[in-house]
Amino acid sequence: MTRVVEVPTQFDDRSFDQFAKAFGEPDEERLLFDAHAVQWGAPYGLLGLLVAGQNTVERGAQRPRLTIPTDKDVLHYWARTGFFEFAGEWFEIHGRTPRASQSRSSEVLLEITPVRGSDDVHGVVGVIQDRAAAILSGELGLEATATMGFGMALSEACQNIVEHAGTSGWVAVQTYHWRRRLGRRVVVITVADAGMGFRRSLQATQGGRYGDRWGDATALEAALIQGASRFRDPGRGQGLGGIRRYVNRWDGKLSIRSGTARIAIVPSWDDDIPLADGLAPFPGSQMLQIIPAQQAE
């Protein structure tokens, strides 16, 4: 038996819960991820797809099938993000995938890149500082110091995988012109993993403090708002606070989804809610950072 997991036609952070619901709880059926009708897939969605594939394979189920988008533009965009370089490991792909273009797309600041250890984080930060400086200061109007802060925010997000996930993950950085949603350019960092998630990571050190209230939502609050860590070293747990401060300073958005909850630092230009609980469960954690172009005073 095959169960079809429909991929939303507009596949990004705002439709992700729909995807998580379709993915559902593990069962014995073989999964078919149906992306044929996708009209737009942001890296948040693409990394989620990789996580779903990885999670399915790592729990011993049959490698799922993936039908790729029929829209050529969408398909080529997916190729430019580097998605197909990794999708083959976790999916049996149905459809002809385009060869990734040798010339990098200007909107892709960092292709989908695996994060497995400290060396990967160094590589990601080194690459992004070269590529992002002109865009951050030139096109987004951020001060020059924002570029270094951007590297910090990216590094801390990736380290969340290295230090807490218990497995590997991915990172991608894009820039877009959000004409309808915001009317400005934005740069978007997406980081995702199929690991243990915040609740399990913090369970031993924080779970007892919360008692019956302990869950995915309280774990996210403990990590992001209170700087809690699974390590007893008092210097731990500062990374997410640093990201939060950076995002606040540049009027950006930060969102972290883990398990059945999502927490967000919501700027005035966005209509997300600060904390959502009782969502469809999804493995690991997914982090989104959005830094918008600064408006002239």
Partner: protein, 177 residues
């Protein structure tokens, strides 16, 4: 030893290709390299940690290097963080706040500032010592229009935290030998 160049230590202990101080793993390795060098330095000397050739500094690495150096060695010797950028200062400040520590940071133009959770009077007294050179509590008190005993307490806090040095009859900025 004039200063401890973090980029050199990074390249020696982690990888020659790196220019950024990111990740805890890297921070631990670099701190180990710094501590090796500190063993050969007289504790009365100011340990100058040079960030001048460092690109990005993340919070985890700042914690492993600056945070833990101050926690483990800050009681015995003074540290001066040289060649820091504004972005470095942001990362270091978060770490210092977490540990209730403070440090003197010198930017790439040679301007010094205090980083860490310190009161206004402490910062003003530090600025007075920096600007006036070796100076006594009475002069600082007059300049800041503060009572002498309160000024002495503030200067003692700077001294205790090893943010200024003491010399006969007064206080002076941290200087490398």
């Amino acid at each position: 030893m004039n200063s401890i160049d973090l980029k050199t230590i990074l390249n020696r202990t982690v990888s020659t290709g790196y220019g950024d101080l990111v990740t805890r793993h890297t921070g631990r390795a670099v701190r180990g390299g710094v501590e090796e060098l500190l063993e050969s330095v007289d504790g009365s000397q100011v340990a100058v940690i040079d960030f001048g050739a460092v690109g990005c500094l993340d919070i985890s690495c700042a914690d492993e290097i600056v945070g833990k150096l101050l926690l483990e060695h800050g009681g015995a010797r003074a540290f001066l963080l040289r060649g820091v950028t504004e972005a470095h200062c942001e990362a270091i400040s978060l770490v210092l706040e977490r540990h209730d520590k403070a440090a003197v940071a010198e930017d790439r133009q040679g301007q010094c500032q205090l980083l860490g959770p310190l009161g206004d009077n402490v910062r003003r007294a530090f600025a007075a010592v920096m600007e006036d050179g070796p100076t006594g509590a009475t002069d600082v008190a007059a300049r800041l229009e503060m009572p002498t005993d309160a000024t002495e307490r503030v200067l003692d806090e700077l001294l205790e935290r090893r943010l200024v040095q003491h010399e006969a009859g007064g206080y002076r900025a941290l200087t490398a030998l």
